[in-house]
Amino acid sequence: MADFVLYLRLFQYGFRRHSTYLAAALAGAFTNTVFGVLRAYVLIALWEARPGLAGYTLTEAVTFCFLTQGFIGPMQVFGRGLSFGDRIRSGDIAFDLVRPAPLLLWSLSEDLGRAAYLTLARSLPPSIAGAVMFTMIGPVSPWFAVSFVLGVVVSFGWRYLVTLTACWTTDDRGVHTLSSLLTFFFSGMVLPLGLFPGWLRTVAEASPFAAMVQVPADVWLGAEPAWSALGFQLFWVVALLGLGALATSAARRKVVVQGG
């Protein structure tokens, strides 16, 4: 019970830390909306030429576009966002690793707080703007809420591993860039994954990145049965958090060896 209170407190801290920067979040939401409009027009031109492409109607394609623009904030599509990244560089991570609460759950709670705030500040505006300027369809499946949260957790699990690599590399910028590249392309942010050709589509749809963006959007649209979508996301949640726990204990041994 005490544990639960602690993690709830951390969730609140994550929420509050990000809510300090309201102007920045609104500017981000505006930019996400502008890009949404540009993407929507390209998709409309494409769907008008080829109706029913990737199994979507034109309205579904436009809905997909604005929904996924709204995912950029909570799913932290461009990477980073975890506060312990800088602490690895400064060495303060040594304190975090010996705290009674495990680093993984600690930062997960904070990250869920961050995502909750960004859902309000950066997901709602592009979605509302999209619904006003174009036509969007509402959520088909009530399981969307669950799928959305699982998407955030998959995103966290991936970024946790990427951030932790700084324990082994001296310059972590390359890893972060590679990660945001992979996330952006294979999640469905660039184009719906159903448009990808052959094997590229197979790889993308099986990747954890699909579980962050494409899958929650498909649950909203009812394009994929909820049970298989949630099962796929749960698989990646378990796999990434499991790997994260392993990597944390490896990092802990490494820090102890070098510590002092």
Binding site: Y21, A23, A24, L26, A27, G28, F30, T31, V34, F35, V37, L38, Y41, V42, I44, A45, L46, A49, R50, L53, D171, R173, G174, T177, L178, S180, L181, F184, F185, V190, L191, L195, F196, P197
Partner: protein
């Protein structure tokens, strides 16, 4: 000019000291921007024309807009970090040095790795050149230069805006990065009002769309007057004047953060 070159060269040499990191930065700058080109390639596996334009023609638009943006971004894109400098107080230091603050801002942390983005755009432009008839090829360098000027002006306007909106620098991204994204596709895919807006208000249509209509010998799908396709230099000059005024007004208005 000399000050700019000296500062930029110093920063470029500094970043090249860490060779692996520098190489990785160039490669990732190349790869991140190549994703947009890959997306265009994927779109064209489903259609033969988009908004009435073929793959090669879209690549021509992507290439010209991309080269203009990459040059402007490399030379002056750093002005978008103004709000960071204001908050850190380092902008005050720039104001008392005997070099123009704009030059200092542009050259500060000069991103030589952005050559990766430029290389990517140059390759796409090179592949698209077969659609350009010899007699109209003279327009290509003209439109690229005008594009560089227009994007530089947009970057400057975005920076000037940060004098007012210190806490929301990302707002400018909608016009800079949004601008280059807009120019990657033929404007015929966008709505009528949006196109009028980027023709008469924020003149991004002159980066590549209007001159490209001349180069590719196309009628204007929106029926705008024909002389507009030669108006890129005028648009670039006007926007630069507005941007310079905005920047000056911003400097005059600037009162430091006070600590």
């Amino acid at each position: 000019m000399g000050d700019y070159l000296l500062l930029a060269w110093t920063w470029a040499r500094a970043s090249a000291q860490y060779r692996t990191s520098f190489a990785v930065s160039i490669l990732s700058s190349f790869a991140i921007n190549a994703l947009d080109a890959v997306a265009i390639g994927i779109v064209f596996t489903h259609v033969t024309t988009l908004g009435g334009f073929s793959l090669r023609e879209v690549m021509f638009l992507y290439g010209t807009g991309g080269v203009s943006f990459a040059v402007a971004d490399m030379l002056f894109g750093n002005v978008e970090r103004l709000s960071q400098h204001i908050r850190a107080g380092t902008f005050d230091t720039m104001l008392i040095r005997p070099v123009s603050p704009f030059v200092q801002m542009a050259a500060d942390g000069f991103g030589a790795h952005r050559i990766g983005r430029l290389a990517q755009a140059v390759i796409v432009l090179g592949l698209s050149l077969p659609v350009v008839p010899w007699s109209r090829a003279w327009m290509v360098p003209v439109m690229i230069v005008c594009g560089v000027v227009i994007f530089t002006a947009v970057f400057t306007l975005g920076a000037a805006l940060q004098f007012v909106l210190v806490d929301a620098p990302e707002l400018a991204n909608a016009f800079t990065y949004g601008g280059v994204t807009l120019t990657q596709y033929p404007l015929s895919v966008y709505g009528d009002q949006l196109v009028r807006g980027v023709t008469y208000i924020v003149p991004l249509a002159f980066v590549n769309w209007q001159p490209a209509l001349y180069v590719l010998g196309r009628p204007d799908p929106f029926g705008l007057p024909g002389w507009l396709r030669f108006a890129a230099p005028l648009a670039a000059l006007l926007l630069s004047a507005v941007a310079a005024l905005a920047w000056r007004a911003g400097i005059r208005r600037y009162r430091s953060t006070g600590n």
